[in-house]
């Protein structure tokens, strides 16, 4: 009689402590060598250290893999090192921007900011005086207006490219791609010369929405097109085979299936325009007073509030105000995106 011995569960594919220690000591060696190379060569500063550390660490790991295993494994490790470098290079600016804005911006934040405007205050006033209500409201109105104009146009363009696939699909696709490269100041000047001077003769939030739409439509159209292409044509066939017209199939099957993709299109579109300053300076002016009417009068915006605080002030208070405006803008974007994801994810899936 032998009793059955149940083996201990193990994970032989995992990196062992010994291997970890070996890699760790190589990294430590690379730090030392990098320090030495900074000291005895022309390289200096944090950047010199980072560059020499990366090349020394990569080289050491390459040699380690080459000795332990073979050239294939060493090349694999080399690729991993460069991928890590890519991640770090991407994260540095993001982390740096967010942390700087938070660290510098919290001084420029005061609860009363959200309830007051700058009609009677200078940017040099203490933070407790004046506020950015007008800017927050102005940005919301203009972005929302631009979204209302751009979303239907962008989605209809995408539907023409993916569903109707007419003769003009190719040139239109090319035009949309070209349009996404239009500089924002050009969009502002276009609205200024085609609508503001000849027609309204007045700066307004609506003109701001029009200028932003020019920037937003290509982003929405291109993203929506990509998202609609992901919908399997099986679903379109199923809809049509049930006796639906093309329009009913698109509205009843294709668009609902692409819902979360269309929300992504909105998010990318809003992200494209929410920080735009140049076209708004031209066509909606820079309002300092709260203006709820998009059809008449200058309208403030958060980027304008930041720009003005930075350039026209010069005092500690003005800089704090500018950084505070950035923090509010960042928080506003995060809240909008979170809300969009929440709304799109709630029903589907």
């Amino acid at each position: 009689m032998t009793t059955q011995v149940i083996p201990k569960p193990s994970k032989p594919w995992e990196v062992t402590v010994k291997q970890r220690a070996a890699t760790g000591s190589l990294i430590a060696l690379a730090v030392v060598l990098a320090g030495v190379s900074v000291k005895f060569s022309g390289l200096n500063g944090k950047l010199g250290f980072a560059v020499s550390f990366f090349f020394i660490a990569t080289g050491l790991i390459f040699i380690q893999q080459l000795r332990l295993r073979d050239l294939q494994a060493a090349k694999d490790a080399l690729l991993s090192s460069f991928a890590m470098l890519g991640i770090v290079l991407t994260l540095i600016p993001i982390v740096s921007i967010v942390s700087t804005v938070v660290i510098k911006g919290y001084k420029g934040i005061h609860p009363s900011l959200l309830f007051k405007d700058m009609a009677l205050n200078s940017v040099n006033d203490p933070i407790t005086e004046g506020g950015l209500l007008h800017a927050l409201v102005g940005t919301s109105i203009m972005v929302f207006g631009a979204l209302i104009i751009s979303f239907p146009i962008g989605v209809l363009t995408a539907l023409y490219l993916t569903e109707i696939r007419g003769k003009l699909a190719r040139p239109i696709k090319f035009l949309v791609q070209a349009m996404s490269g239009v500089p924002s100041i050009v969009a502002g000047l276009f609205i200024l010369s085609s609508l503001v001077y000849p027609v309204t003769k007045e700066l307004s939030g609506l003109m701001g929405s029009f200028a932003l739409s020019i920037l937003m439509i290509p982003t929405i159209a291109r993203t929506a097109e990509e998202m609609l292409r992901l919908i399997p044509s099986d679903l379109r066939e199923a809809g049509v085979a049930l006796g639906a017209t093309q329009w009913r199939t698109v509205s009843g099957v294709v668009l609902p299936a692409a819902k979360s993709g269309l929300v992504t299109a909105i998010i990318l579109g809003v992200a494209r325009i929410i920080g735009e300053t140049a076209p708004l300076l031209l066509v909606s002016g820079g309002g300092d007073a709260l203006n709820m009417n998009p059809t008449s009068g200058a309208m403030g915006s958060l980027p304008y509030y930041i720009w003005k605080s930075f350039l026209t002030g010069g005092t500690e208070e003005a800089f704090a105000r500018a950084w505070g405006g950035m923090l509010v803008l960042l928080a506003f974007i995060f809240i909008l995106f979170g809300l969009a994801r929440f709304l799109s994810g709630r029903k589907v899936g």
Binding site: E237, G239, V240, A241, L242, R248, V253
Partner: protein, 296 residues
């Protein structure tokens, strides 16, 4: 093919089956009660007259004339690329969904050419439903909404949708499995259940013909068995045309079988006959080679 010819064929077939050794498939087909056309009020069925099909300049289907008598199940068999799916898609005008497609010939539904000028294509597809190879429930809809989606999409008015929902799911053999979870999404079902959901969905608009394009090719044997039961049940009230690569399936579910073949050129319909005859004593050497597994 008129009913009298059919009965002649059947009696001939029975004589032959006594003299020749029936293959196992033929006995499968022969064991089942043969549905006789013309014994119901389902219209006069579907006929094709000299149907050719092209994709661009490539001629993929040549001169197919076939009758689908009302209330029967017809299987289309043949090796891959022989045009049987293309032929199936000409029967409810899904062929033209592909931009380069072209067609010649007539498809008569109750004697009317569905390609005649002025025909409303959406009305044709309401009368000739379709189930696809891959289960494709609408992902944005619940199980219940999926079943009734045809009404919404084709803008049909139905007074008692709850009864219709239940009867469609019962006929598709899915009711007992989903009756407590009609509010869940279709994607939560297994592949076989999804395919039966798609069958239920096509039943809701009450088609008189149901086309099935390899409905079981992505499913396991258990689900396949359930769908074959469903097909037998449905055949009492509608005309069914099924494309299948599985000859056992053709033998189990169909009354008539048509064999398609392509020799590199356009696909042709080699032979059509009652299913038990196709599997026991086909007229054409090529059919015999195919059903006995010598090629394809």
């Amino acid at each position: 093919m008129t009913p009298s010819e059919n009965s002649n064929n059947e009696s001939n077939m029975e004589k032959k089956m006594q003299t020749t050794t029936p293959s196992s498939l033929a006995s499968v087909a022969g064991n089942r009660e043969q549905r006789v056309p013309g014994t119901n009020l389902l219209g006069t069925g579907l006929e094709t007259r000299g149907v050719h099909a092209w994709f661009g300049t490539k001629h993929v289907l040549s001169d197919v004339s076939l009758d689908f008598a009302a209330g029967t199940v017809t299987a289309l068999i043949g090796p891959s690329g022989c045009g049987k799916s293309t032929f199936l898609r000409t029967l409810n005008r899904m062929h033209e969904f592909i931009p380069t497609a072209a067609l010649a010939g007539e498809v008569l539904l109750d004697g009317q050419d569905i390609y005649a000028a002025g025909t409303d294509v959406t009305k044709i597809r309401l009368r000739v439903g379709m189930v696809f190879q891959k289960p494709n429930p609408f992902p944005s809809m619940t199980i219940g909404e999926n079943v009734l989606s045809g009404l919404k999409l084709a803008q049909l008015k139905k007074s008692n949708t709850d009864d219709l929902l239940e009867s469609c799911l019962v006929r598709a053999g899915l009711w007992s499995e989903v009756k407590d979870r009609l509010g869940e999404h279709g994607g939560a079902l297994s592949g076989g259940q999804q395919q039966r959901l798609c069958i239920a969905r096509s039943l809701a608009v009450e088609p008189q013909v149901l086309l099935m394009d390899e409905p079981c090719s992505a499913l396991d044997p258990g689900s396949t068995f359930r769908i074959e039961e469903t097909i037998s049940e449905l055949a009492k009230s509608m005309t069914i045309v099924i494309v299948t690569h599985n000859m056992q399936q053709a033998a189990r579910v169909s009354d008539y079988t048509a064999f398609f073949l392509s020799d590199g050129g356009p696909g042709i319909m080699v032979e059509t006959a009652p299913t038990s005859k196709i599997f026991s004593s086909p007229m054409d050497k090529r059919t015999e080679d195919y059903v006995t597994g010598r090629f394809g």
